[in-house]
Subunit: 61 residues, 6 copies
C-alpha cells in the first residue's frame, strides 16, 4: 500500500496534476510490484514563501 506525498510549488494546472498522478502511479507499479489500486497520492501545493534551500526562501531567489 504505497502512500505518496508530493510537495511542489503551486500553479500547476489540473491537466499537469492528472498526468502527474497517472505517471507516478505507473512508475511505482512497475518498480515495486504492487497493484495501481494500492497507490494513494497526496499532493500539497506550496507557496514560494514556504520553501527554502540553504537558508533562503524560494521567493527571495
Amino acid at each position: 500500500m504505497p502512500t505518496v506525498q508530493i510537495e511542489m510549488f503551486e500553479g500547476r494546472t489540473l491537466e499537469q496534476k492528472k498526468l502527474l498522478v497517472q505517471k507516478v502511479t505507473q512508475a511505482i507499479v512497475e518498480s515495486v510490484n504492487t497493484a495501481p489500486e494500492n497507490v494513494k497520492i497526496i499532493i500539497r501545493d506550496m507557496s514560494k514563501e514556504n520553501f527554502a534551500t540553504a537558508g533562503k526562501l524560494a521567493i527571495e531567489e
Copy 2:
C-alpha cells in the same frame, strides 16, 4: 507524545473538526495508555484536485 496528522477532503465544518479531535484523542488515550495532554493533532484540508487513487484524481471520479 503521540503526534497525529490527518489529511482529509476540505469542506468539513468546525463542529465536525471539534468532534473529530475529541474522538480521535479519546481513541488514542484508551488504546495506547497516554494522557490526553500528550496528543497533538494536525488536520490538513485537501482539495479533490490533490488526492489520487489508482492514478486518478478524486476530482475526476
Copy 3:
C-alpha cells in the same frame, strides 16, 4: 479518504496497535461522515532519542 499518520513512542504491543487503529478509524467515521474503507492509518514508532519538547529530547527527561 482520510489518511492518518501517527507518530508515537516505540514499545506498544501488537494488541495495542490493533486497538488503536480500530478505535481511531471508528472515531473518524463517526465524526466526519466517511466509510471505514476510506480511512488509512500509518503508524511510525519513534525512539525517545527522536522526540523533543522545549529543546530537550524525551530520553533526557
Copy 4:
C-alpha cells in the same frame, strides 16, 4: 522543488528502490516541468504492523 515521501511495506530490494526513484523522478519531470535535480525522494519502510485500512492492521489480513 518537488519533495516526495513514499511510505511502503519493507522488504523491497535495493534494485527495486533504485528503479523506483529513477522512474518516479522521471514521471515528475515529464509531467510538471521541472529538472531532475529538483526532485528529492524520501522512502520510508513500513512494517505490516504499522499500516491499517478500515480499522485493521495489514498484518491481520
Copy 5:
C-alpha cells in the same frame, strides 16, 4: 540531506519566515555537520481550526 517540515500557525510575515529558515538552517549546520545547501525546509501554514491539543482545537481556547 536534512529535510525539514515545519507546521505552524498562519499569520507570520515574510520577514519572520526569512529569519526562520536562515536560523533553522544555521542551527542544523552547526549541530549535525552538514553543508547549508543540503538543508531543505518546507513550511506549512496552519489555521487555528486545524490544530488540537488534549482533544481541543486551538480556535476553541
Copy 6:
C-alpha cells in the same frame, strides 16, 4: 505550536541530536515569537538507501 519533522541520515550521535533540538528550538523561538514549550520536534533517521536526488539513491553516490 510549531511542530517540526526532521529527516536526516542515520548515524548522528545522541550528543548531536541533543544539540540539534536545542539549537533548532532556539532558532524557532527567536524568529517566530513563540515559547520553547510550544516547539515539538520529531527526528527520523534515514538510511542512504532511502533518499534520492535526481533519481539516484544516496547510497549509489
